[in-house]
């Protein structure tokens, strides 16, 4: 598998920042109907660094390497971004981006703000785009009623980015060897194929550099190889393998390697498995699950013993009837079943 080049997100810094409101788009409404910001706000450096930290978090968690989709004919935003790299005028660029996002988003897309910033990554100029959902919150303010102290509560309906806001749609794009490349986090490409990727595809005009089916295959193969080569305890082997089978056959639409490791792997194997995945090009960010390159196995498990015996069956039944004894108790395999037929 071709390994996507890693960028060090600690080197990300943001410069000028501007935000535009992206309202809910009703049918037939056009971009001319939205009002856009016309000047740059004066922001403290700390606020800029706050945005930068959130963007780093989003991209380390969900950012996948992307490039411009060659199948799209005359994609709008890549052209605008290319122009921006030549002449970085943030206000006019961000206005074009906001109008384009407004038109690209589907009726079900939630309203929010589009934050756009000029950025630097690994010393290279870049542009950052973040779709920030609107949130609600309450503020407690100390007050007095009838001379007695209490707290007044105000509902804040126009909050956008709080400590707990999840920024799902974000992009960081830069130029490498003359071509636009970057990292994009887009939850919709990962969770619902029906409205797949208006942010990644329609808005940004990009595609994933490494296809999800390639990543899924690499994840499965790397974990299996790790189990067979590095895990010595029989119980651990079976437990990890069962968890891998369950991960692949579950209804979840994405694979999140650190989440898998955290939930199913013992402390001593966590770091080494993560390193092995990274070495084999499987990112630490979550990616869309796509089993199309894996042979259709259903939900079957197959154990090969030292003595050359193969035990195979449906994963659920194997879990129920095949007992793998702890190595502390002498190890070994016990099958709780009866022979129906011999061949």
């Amino acid at each position: 598998m071709k390994k996507a080049k890693n960028v060090d997100l600690s080197s990300l810094s943001l410069g000028k920042f501007i935000a535009h409101e992206i309202p809910h788009r009703l049918k037939d409404e056009v971009a001319a109907d939205i009002s856009l910001s016309e000047s740059l706000p004066k922001l403290e450096k700390r606020i800029i660094n706050f945005f930068c930290n959130r963007l780093q978090g989003t991209l380390t968690k969900r950012g996948q390497p992307v490039d411009v989709d060659p199948k799209l004919q005359d994609p709008f935003l890549p052209k605008v971004i290319d122009e921006w790299f030549e002449k970085p005028k943030l206000i006019s660029f961000s206005q074009l981006a906001a109008k384009h996002l407004y038109m690209a988003q589907t009726g079900s897309a939630s309203p929010g703000m589009l934050g756009v910033a000029d950025a630097k990554i690994d010393g290279k100029p870049a542009v950052a785009l973040m779709k920030l959902p609107e949130e609600e919150g309450v503020r407690f303010e100390r007050t007095s009623v009838g001379g007695k102290e209490t707290y007044n509560v105000t509902l804040l309906g126009d909050l956008t980015l709080t400590e707990n806001t999840k920024v799902f749609k974000a992009a960081l794009l830069w130029r490498e060897n003359g071509a636009i490349t970057g990292l994009v986090s887009d939850d919709q490409t990962q969770e619902s194929s029906a409205i797949a990727g208006y942010f990644l595809s329609q808005f940004l005009g990009c595609r994933h550099k490494v296809r999800p089916q390639t990543l899924t295959k690499a994840f499965k193969e790397t974990v299996t190889e790790f189990i067979n080569k590095e895990v010595t305890d029989e119980g651990d082997k079976v437990r990890y393998f069962t968890a891998l089978q369950a991960e692949l056959s579950s209804n979840k639409k994405q694979i999140d390697p650190p989440d898998f490791i955290q939930k199913h792997v013992n402390s001593k194997h966590k770091g080494p498995l993560q390193n092995r995945l990274n070495d084999n090009g499987v990112p630490t960010a979550a990616f869309q699950k796509d089993l199309s390159l894996l042979p259709a196995q259903g939900q079957r498990s197959r154990y090969l013993t030292d003595g050359g015996i193969t035990i195979a069956g449906e994963s659920e039944k194997m879990k129920e009837r095949v007992e793998i004894r702890d190595s502390e108790k002498g190890g070994g395999i016990v099958i709780h079943d009866r022979i129906r037929r011999v061949q």
């Binding site: 600690s10 780093q56 955290q262």
Partner: protein, 330 residues
């Protein structure tokens, strides 16, 4: 050509190789001091000047006990001196040299002259330990010519050695009783100095807060390489005491070394990240310890963080700043 002149020419011919031997010896001592974590040693090497060698040979002739083979018998042609702070460092370094069978030929007890114990009660002096060694790597010289002398002293002993050239060593004039008494008092004072400084160190190191304090100091010093300004010392103490693994604090010197290695290896990245003002923890010295942990094993780091009862969100912001994906909470 006279015998002495012939000797001088021979000595000058072998001197460049003796200088190489001296450098080898100095390098070995530096490695061992580092290995034994001997703090701030001063190590100097020298090869005897030809006039000094000839003087020594002449002196022995005048004393009617001449050297049979002068170039071989003068054992301090190459000398290396290590001055250390604590008396116990001398013992540890002597022990290390004694065990260095890969570097030196077998060292007999007779080869070690511990001058700290060899003076009688009424003798004046305050010296360290001298060891005669024969290196296995001889730089092309004959074995008999390669005996080298290693001197190990405390700084107080070094101070005495320098002063004693004038005050007591081989006096050319007869000293009065008053002078002698002054010199005795002086050596007693130096001995007391070494004893007290060693005792203070032992007490300090047995204090349960010592390892934590040493680590905090190293982190504070490291922070100043990357940003100036105030930090919150109470917060640092609280965070470091929660995050520094009890096991790793047992060898705090290694941990302090790791801080230094880490800041060296990630110098550029730390310069970039630590100068930011969000999250606030970046302004604290403990940010370096947090990044060390994240870099070493992010899963362990998170377990440690949770065991310490610290909020996960804070570690997540630090991981974001370091460009690392923090796994979901346990």
């Amino acid at each position: 050509m006279s015998n002495d002149e012939e000797l001088r020419q021979k000595y000058l011919a072998m001197r460049p190789r003796l200088e190489e031997l001296a450098k080898d010896l100095k390098k070995s001592l530096m490695v061992w001091c580092n290995e034994l974590r001997i703090y701030s040693p001063r190590i100097e090497e020298r090869v005897k000047e030809s006039h000094s060698l000839l003087n020594k040979i002449l002196q022995r002739k005048l004393e009617r006990r001449p050297y049979a083979d002068p170039l071989a018998d003068v054992s301090d042609k190459v000398g290396v001196r290590a001055d250390v702070i604590y008396g116990s460092d001398i013992d540890r370094l002597v022990d290390r040299i004694h065990r260095a069978t890969d570097v030196f030929e077998r060292i007999e007890d007779d080869d070690i002259d511990d001058k700290r114990f060899s003076l009688s009660a009424n003798e004046v002096g305050y010296s360290g330990v001298h060891i005669d060694v024969v290196p296995r790597e001889r730089r092309g010289l004959a074995r008999k010519h390669t005996t080298c002398e290693i001197q190990i002293r405390t700084n107080a002993q070094a101070a005495w050695a320098m002063a004693s050239h004038e005050l007591a060593y081989k006096p050319v004039v007869k000293r009065t009783d008053g002078d002698k008494r002054r010199v005795f008092r002086l050596t007693a004072l130096l001995e007391l100095f070494d004893e007290q400084i060693s005792q203070s160190r032992d007490e300090l190191m047995s204090d349960p807060n010592y390892p934590l304090g040493k680590l905090i100091q190293a982190l504070r010093d490291a922070r100043f390489q990357f940003r100036a300004g105030e930090s919150n010392p109470a917060l640092t103490h609280d965070m470091v005491s929660r995050l520094a693994d009890v096991q790793s604090l047992k060898d705090v010197d290694e941990l302090v070394d790791n801080v230094s290695k880490f800041t060296h290896e990630y110098d550029r990245k730390l310069r970039d990240v630590l100068t930011r003002d969000y999250p606030s923890l970046l302004s604290q010295p403990e940010a370096i310890l947090i990044f060390m942990n994240l870099e070493s094993d992010i899963y362990n780091s998170q377990e440690l963080w949770e065991r310490a009862g610290l909020p996960n969100g804070l570690l997540e912001k630090m991981a974001n700043a370091w460009g690392k994906r923090l796994p979901p909470p346990l």
